[in-house]
């Protein structure tokens, strides 16, 4: 059956609801944020409507550039770690009997029910000197004395990967389950080892899925502001942490809005670039 193009306004009806939601919950707030980012900040007061670029000017400095660079680097690292861990895991998961798959998925979903605060505090305890995992290593005779592993970059990375991993698995899972099993079988029949088949057949076949997953985790990680605070030192704070400081603690809405707009633009730019490169690669 051929799908007909919509003829009348009524045919567009089903679109009105999502469009309305998008307008109310995304376009309007984001528009407000852009407007506020040009307002004049009043020290010792609030802000006044104006059209000034000073908020953006303040952001354009080596200092904030460094923080932005770190945030992007952290998000990319989290995305790569998540996909590297989740892809083999999800592949093996999809080979398990149905019942076991369900148990694993339920366990992963339950991790999603944990709040960022709980995850942060749990890891900071696990990484502490007084009660952390290094105490076990000491008891096993592997270490001389217990040390604190947090705050550090490794702690931030661990916490964020832990938080994003269930999402990664859940995004990869449908694609892996639907993957034609004959692909891998053919590779094996032709004499490829399982590991080689995984990298030479499965990974290229899932290239678009993997790219989409990387982008999703990247954006997810970019918004993180609690874990870097709990598990990191100040140099591991992301731009989101500084935005929160400005908005909530300094009541400097215009500057916070300008930073947020900038972050969104950089993110969109990076995602567009990634997609563009991906498309070019496909044509070649």
């Amino acid at each position: 059956m051929k799908r007909e193009a919509p003829q009348s306004i009524a045919d567009y009806g089903p679109l009105f609801f999502p469009a309305g939601m998008l307008l109310v919950f995304f376009v309007v707030p984001f528009g407000t944020m852009i407007v506020v980012s040009f307002f004049q900040r009043q020290q010792g007061g609030f802000y006044t409507p104006a059209f000034v670029f000073s908020n953006y000017e303040r952001f354009l400095s080596v200092f904030f550039g460094g923080v932005l660079g770190f945030s992007l680097m952290l998000a990319v690292t989290v995305a790569i770690c998540c996909v590297v861990l989740a892809l083999p895991f999800t592949y093996l998961l999809s080979k398990l009997p149905r019942r076991l798959q369900v148990i694993w998925l339920v366990a992963l979903l339950s991790v999603l029910s944990l709040s960022e605060v709980i995850i942060g505090f749990a890891w900071s305890t696990l990484f502490s000197r007084t009660a952390g995992i290094t105490n076990i290593l000491v008891q096993l005779g592997l270490m001389k004395q217990a040390v604190a592993l947090s705050p550090s970059f490794g702690a931030v990375l661990t916490g964020m990967v832990y938080q994003a991993l269930p999402y990664t698995v859940l995004v990869l899972y449908p694609a892996l389950v639907r993957l034609d099993p004959t692909l891998m079988e053919a590779a094996r029949t032709l004499g490829s080892s399982p590991v080689r088949a995984f990298f030479n057949v499965l990974v290229p076949a899932l290239r678009n899925t993997i790219m989409a997953t990387l982008i999703m985790v990247f954006i997810f990680a970019l918004g993180s502001y609690l874990l870097p605070q709990i598990l990191g030192r100040p140099q591991h704070w992301t731009l989101s942490v500084l935005i929160t400081d400005q908005a909530i603690y300094q009541s400097n809405m215009p500057f916070a809005a300008a930073m947020a707009v900038f972050l969104v633009l950089v993110t969109l730019g990076l995602v567009a670039l990634t997609l563009l490169i991906g498309r070019k690669g496909e044509k070649a």
Partner: protein, 362 residues
Amino acid sequence: MDTIIKTAVNRRTVLAAGALGTAMLAMPSVLRAQDKSLKIGVYGGYFKNSFDKNIFPEFTKATGIAVESVAEPTGEAWLVQLEQAAKAGAAPADISMMSQVAMIKGQSTELWTPLDTAKLPNAKNLLDRFINKYPDGRIAGIGAVAWYITLVTNTDVYKEAPTSWQAFWDPANADKLGLLALVSNSFLLEVTAKTFFGGTNALDTEEGILKVFDKLAEVKPNVRLWYRDEAQFEQALKSGEIPMGQYYHDVTGLAASEGHPVRSTFPKEGGVQDSGCWAVSRASKKIDEAHIFIDYMSQPAIQATLSRKVGTAPTVKRELLDLNEKEFAAVSSDIEPILPRYDLLTTKADFLNQKWTELIVG
């Protein structure tokens, strides 16, 4: 500075959620019984709960004015709401407990109804620093409660209590400190100025501020945690994970009394004293009742009750209070406190914030 209150609420919210509901259910009957009433904004959680239990019923009994307490949201959100409502001629609360920075910001739009000392005979009991004035001398607010940030240590790790804020700079304490993460709530510039530059006047000029920043930068290698979340530091302090830092005198005392190995010390340079004011929204019509309430709260006996029941430091002069040595030491100290430079936190807010962020992040 407003953050203190925000965080003060956080730590206190946990303690209290339950009884709050009961108190609110009890209110309507009180309201019906009275003709005169007041809506009073107090920080939600522990503060509101303590006031509902220990202060407001007694006030209603003594004056016949019914109280409807309103839980103030955290940060400066309440100031913004009061301001917006006042523009529309409404007052979500007649009187509110406000942070010092919020008081100054509210002054800029004449949000606070000037108070009349003739109607506040008890205001003379207060220490001068707790009277918040407009630049032209009119009274914008009267001190409600005060609290201290002091030098805290884990007693298992530090057998001897440190005596000076200089302990923060001691190379022996490398990677052992937990300090508040924001320029507006840590007051570490004031501490540094008082400890090494003879007083907070050293912050009068930008040049002076930069010098203080340089000195403060020397603390960085000793800091393990710059915290926004109090629970995080309190936990680490109790366990000895982070055995030294700055924290609230009242909560540390509470933890010590529960048997945790922690102590709060007033250094010889003084603890940092922060406070909240009672202020009346210009949209409120209940000026007379508001004066009666503020006057009632300024009585030494009520301030003593607050110290005993809520754990806040009194805003009235020591000699007027019937607190014994132990009760007074639990909430305050005779050592001259370090007073935050709220003026700088408003007039130079962005400069200080930028330098501060660069200092600790960079």
